[in-house]
């Protein structure tokens, strides 16, 4: 086997360009080199817009017009890609290069059974008979570890869970014995426990079948978990490349160092995440003003309970008039307290009911049983104006959280005026300006519309808007999960500063244990609508009691757990 040493993928000086409408050219990928040997997993990391997905698309011939490979060469299994067509003679995507995409919910066609999707490639590329194809499909289903493979072959995608679907996608990618697999964020849409299984599966495939894997991801934990080599990209260019351990523990390039330092560690709590601070005198002055104005919320003592949730239950459906409809119990009897000035964390996998709890407290959903006590008032369907004012929320998706037709100033000033916290529009605009400065944005940002801002900036605006009514409890529902790590780190620092500033209590919801560890004083772990463990953050992370908590902690991919503590001390 002389072929084993020949790289399955060899990229030299690859340059991908997109001509823009105004005649300029956007260089999405700038002269990168990348080599993958059989059985090697090569991770491509970077923040959004770094060009990592474009590399994957370029080598699969999936570049969207008008994007084109402008220069360089891509050699897949010894065969060179034709730059003009973007395709390689003798290399068929799907046969020689397998693809695993991010979202298992949309990468399978909902109208066909698993079997027909698995066999499709084999029938066209390998010219197998349908009997042979079916036998091989069964074999693949077993290889990717789907329970009851015979029965699952006849299933439609909607009958499978997210993890099972991603396994089917992997099986499809493997169907024609590819030498190279491009996995673009293969586990981003999955829960940690499923993620761990899928990552192990990909690692095994590389080891046992000698498949080369190009793993595109933004998650350093995933890189540490399975990658042999890693390439860090920024603005289309390679910043650093090398063996995973070397790059992650002793990054040389300044950007690589910042990027790795911004990843919140799961095993230690840092006072602040080590990212460049954007704090200026303007920011500090603005925060002092905000503190002076919101003085009323600092009256209570530190241990006073602000929010008390008892046996909260929420059901969806079941409101059919004529016939009984299926009732889904999203939350089944949850109890916890949030004390003044505390950040209380709710953590759990998707579907565990943590967002429903937040929505119920915020008044977006009505509980079916149990009580919510907020500053001594029981919250039900209708709420006093003063209650609504002291309870504000920051949402997950910064791209839909701001009204696209409102200027930022108007959006922030609206609640201030509504609660009569300013006597006139001018004063409210001044307050909006101060709030913008307090969250680290320039005061003139207020004159623009939401689309002029990046995700991180929008989330800052959303925080400024939520602070306008001078709340005593801020609900943060996955406030950073849509953001890049360095932006996430800045926002987490900001939220901590604001808590200290106004004696604000926070209910912080996240699926990311590392983020929870950095942010929260106490944590409740939720599973299937119930709290399985509630403890001080340090206690929970160092001595978890419940089996489920232990499992979550064990499975969370973490750079420092795998690499030891030799990380560049930040």
């Amino acid at each position: 086997m002389t072929e084993t040493t020949r790289p399955v993928l060899d990229i030299r000086n690859l340059r991908v360009e997109y001509p823009l409408a105004n005649g300029d050219t956007l260089v999405a990928v700038k002269d990168i080199d990348l080599t993958i040997r059989p059985g090697e997993i090569h991770a491509l990391v970077g923040e959004s817009g770094a060009g990592k997905t474009t590399v994957g698309n370029a080598l699969m011939g999936l570049l969207q017009a008008p994007g084109k490979i402008a220069a360089g060469s891509i050699v897949i299994a010894g065969k060179e890609i034709n730059l003009r067509t973007g395709r390689t003679e003798g290399i068929v995507p799907g046969r020689d290069v397998g693809a695993i995409f991010q979202d298992p919910m949309t990468s399978l066609n909902p109208l066909f059974t698993v079997e027909s999707q698995l066999c499709e490639g084999m029938l066209t590329h390998l010219k197998l008979s349908s009997r042979e194809a079916k036998a091989r499909a069964l074999e693949l289903m077993k290889a990717v570890g789907i329970p009851e493979p015979e029965r699952r072959l006849g299933s439609y995608p909607h009958q499978l869970s997210g993890g099972q679907r991603q396994r089917v996608v992997i099986a499809t990618a493997l169907a024609c014995n590819p030498q190279l697999i491009v996995a673009d964020e293969p586990t981003t849409a999955l829960d940690v426990s499923v993620q761990a299984q899928i990552l192990k599966l990909i690692r095994d495939l590389a080891d046992q079948r000698g498949v080369g894997v190009l793993l595109v991801t933004h998650n350093m934990g995933v890189v540490a978990e399975i990658a042999d080599r890693v390439t860090i990209m920024q603005n289309g260019a390679v910043v650093e490349s090398g063996p995973t351990r070397e790059v992650l523990t002793a990054p040389k390039a300044p950007y690589a160092r910042t990027l790795i330092a911004a990843v919140p560690p799961i095993d230690t709590r840092l006072d602040r995440l080590p990212v460049p601070s954007e704090e200026t005198q303007v920011t500090l002055d603005a925060r002092a003003t905000v503190r002076r104005k919101s003085a009323k919320s600092e009256t209570g003592s530190r241990d006073e309970v602000v929010l008390s949730v008892r046996d909260l239950a929420v059901e969806y459906g079941g409101r059919g008039l004529l016939r009984k409809t299926l009732v889904f119990k999203a939350v089944k009897g949850v109890s916890f307290d949030v004390r003044r000035g505390e950040i209380f964390g709710l953590v759990g996998e998707s579907g565990c009911g943590k967002t429903t709890v937040a929505n119920t407290i915020a008044g977006l959903v009505t509980q079916s049983a149990g009580s919510i006590d907020f500053e001594g008032t029981a919250l039900g369907g209708r709420r006093e104006k003063s209650i609504r004012q002291s309870l504000q929320m920051v949402f997950q998706d910064p791209y839909s959280a701001l009204n696209p037709r409102l200027r930022i100033n108007a959006a922030i000033a609206e609640p201030i005026l509504f609660y009569k916290l300013a006597s006139n529009a001018d004063e409210a605009r001044q307050d909006a300006k101060t709030l913008l400065e307090a969250v680290g944005l320039p005061a003139d940002a207020g004159a623009r519309f939401a689309h002029a801002f990046s995700g991180g900036q929008r989330q800052r605006i959303a925080i400024a808007r939520a602070l306008g009514p001078r709340p005593s409890l801020l609900i943060c529902d996955e406030p950073t999960s849509a953001l890049d790590v360095s932006v996430q780190a800045q926002l987490l620092n900001l939220l901590k500063d604001l808590r200290d500033l106004a004696g604000l209590s926070m209910l912080f919801i996240s699926h990311d244990l590392a983020v929870i560890r950095q942010m929260c004083d106490r944590v409740a772990v939720m599973k299937a609508g119930e709290i399985v463990e509630l403890a001080d953050t340090e206690t929970l992370f160092t001595a978890p009691k419940h089996e489920y908590t232990r499992e979550l902690l064990r499975l969370a991919p973490s750079v420092e757990r795998i690499m030891g503590r030799e990380l560049a001390s930040a």
Binding site: A21, N22, G23, A362, G363, L364, R383, K385, R388, Q389, L391, Q392, M393, F395, Q396, D397, S400, A401, L402, N403, P404, R405, L406, E414, P415, F418, Y419, A462, R465, A466, P469, I475
Partner: protein
């Protein structure tokens, strides 16, 4: 290069022409009393002596009457200008009435959902299950029976606007309801709710501006439909009376002489009607593609 990107943003030629046609027609409509050679509502200004004169380009034409005269000796240019005016006013009126009614009901139905939604949308279903023309004939018939001839004359345009709008609002309500349901699931609306803003304010200030583009598109396309419906009703005799003729009334009058060689009395106003509706439709289609790029061919 800059000119090239500017070119790309310009609408196609057909839309430019349609817009010009529409602008010219609107100017003519607004300044009709100043432009028209005579006032067709003033009986003293025309004479039966001039009846049935063909257009100037035909043998026997009279330079005073560019497009000829009708059976009462009225100048067709003047009659058409005033008729166009009535058609446009009724069309616009019906669209505005229907849009306001439909947007409000659609917003409320989409925002509150549940029982409110069911009630509003079932009412809409009932309304839409009657043919527009039938309802309009019915309403104008009732109005005609109840009101004296004098009052009917003054009220005819309002009755027409009402009869047309009463069916058309359903389309707005349905579209607005669907768009509202999309918007209320977005975080900025949820944020407005958590901030504690009252429902009316969330609907008016946050949701409405974000769904207006689809309303504008329907309104433009509906304008053409409303003008046509008005013309149909007037043609059937249930619309504007011959003393205050709209384009439809003119076509009805002309229709009686169509086969006696006096074709211009019907064809001239009909041509204007076709041009008007075509121009509005071209613009409406363009707006629809413009605001909903998914419909465009790739």
């Amino acid at each position: 290069m800059a000119t090239q990107s500017l070119m790309r943003r310009l609408p196609p030629v057909s839309v430019v022409i349609a817009s010009l046609v529409l602008v010219v027609m609107l100017v003519l409509v607004i300044f009709a009393p100043m432009i028209a050679p005579m006032d067709p509502r003033d009986v003293a200004s025309y004479s039966l002596m001039d009846m049935e004169i063909p257009p100037v380009f035909m043998e026997g034409g009279d330079s005073r009457f560019l497009l000829g005269t009708d059976n009462q000796g009225r100048d067709l240019v003047s009659v058409i200008l005033f008729g166009l005016r009535i058609s446009v006013v009724i069309g616009l009126g019906a669209v505005v009435f229907a849009a306001v009614l439909g947007v409000v009901l659609g917003l409320v139905a989409g925002f509150f959902g549940g029982v409110v939604d069911s009630i509003v949308m079932r009412i809409a279903d009932i309304f839409v299950s009657f043919p527009t023309i039938l309802v309009a004939l019915l309403i104008s018939g009732i109005a005609r029976a109840q009101l004296s001839a004098e009052t009917m004359l003054a009220w005819a345009p309002l009755v027409l606007i009402f009869s047309i709008a009463i069916n058309e609002w359903v389309q707005y309500a349905r579209t607005v309801r669907a768009s509202t349901m999309v918007e209320i699931a977005r975080d900025y609306v949820r944020a407005a709710k958590v901030i504690g803003l009252p429902s009316t304010r969330i609907m008016g200030r946050h949701i409405l501006p974000n769904i207006m583009s689809s309303v504008m598109v329907i309104a433009t396309i509906n304008l053409a439909g409303a003008i046509l419906t008005e013309a149909t009703l007037s043609f059937l005799g249930a619309g504007m009376p011959p003393t205050y003729p709209s384009l439809g009334t003119l076509i009805r009058i002309g229709n009686q002489f169509l086969f006696s060689g006096l074709w211009w009395i019907a064809v001239m106003p009909a041509t204007v009607l076709v041009i008007l509706v075509l121009a509005v439709n071209v613009i409406g289609d363009y707006l629809r593609d413009h605001f909903n790029p998914k419909l465009m061919a790739r």
